[in-house]
Symmetry: C2
Subunit: 162 residues, 2 copies
């Protein structure tokens, strides 16, 4: 099992967007530059966030991205599912209904026990991610970062935000 690299980028991008004034925008190219990642590919993931209603895009000369909702109303799970999809990681193909020991389909009314366990684990995973908002992340990041790093980031943001 492996999450796409875009998940990491999207989470960092959302944290940065959370500190952008709500009446301004930040172009995808600036976000990519800030994180040192390929601009075109990050744009692809930002599209996913846009379609999920997490960020909103502003077109035109002074366009860019901004959060569509307050940071406190966006969970980490929202971001992860927007990029990675919301399909379960465990795929049950009902192999218990195949092979020589299979019986009529109507006999399998109870859900597959194995699937139940896997689904429960995924639910716990999602619950953890849903318990943390983007605002929580911003507070956490700001608290853990060194003063010099915060100063440098602020200076950069003053530079690019319009």
């Amino acid at each position: 099992m492996q999450l796409g690299e875009g998940v990491e980028w999207a989470l960092h991008a959302v944290v940065v967007l959370a500190v952008v004034p709500s009446d301004s925008t930040l172009p995808a190219a600036r976000l990519a530059e800030y994180h040192g990642v390929p601009p075109a590919y990050l744009a692809k993931h930002l599209q996913a966030l846009s379609q999920a209603g997490i960020v909103e895009s502003v077109a035109g000369r002074r366009g860019g991205y901004r959060l569509a909702r307050p940071a406190a109303a966006i969970t980490v799970l929202d971001v992860v599912q927007a990029v990675e999809g919301s399909a379960p990681a465990f795929r049950c193909t009902e192999i218990r209904q195949r092979g020589p020991a299979a019986v009529a389909s109507r006999e399998y009314r109870a859900p597959c026990s194995i699937t139940k366990v896997m689904r429960a684990a995924e639910a716990a995973w999602r619950e953890q991610l849903a318990s943390v908002s983007v605002l929580d992340l911003v507070i956490e990041v700001a608290g853990a970062a060194s003063p010099v790093a915060i100063r440098k980031s602020s200076a950069w943001m003053q530079e690019v935000v319009r």
Copy 2:
């Protein structure tokens, strides 16, 4: 994110092996036949289980696979990690240390907050899977299956177990 199909097969296979008498073995081909899956491919995943010490292989004329430990001492997490690997699903590439706002590496002593959240969620996932043993699965499956299905499976097993 998506788990490999082999995880499902391995879990079902382990459940079947759990009801095989401990002095007998079940060849991979029979397991594949029971579940209606490609024999060669299932064998590949059984190798992974073997290397992880979950099942043990017996070579030769009357060889096959059997559990290497009591079913109660094997967790679902053991099986999943044996097949899928134990690497974290979320990959942190430390992109916070890149780009124009980066500072000296020694300033990033605190772990990445985003990574912490993702790791915590994965820990919850693993905890759930570790709380269920293969024996639990067997009991659950046996309790949920219809009587006719159990009879048919037992008959098949009497046939193939040697």
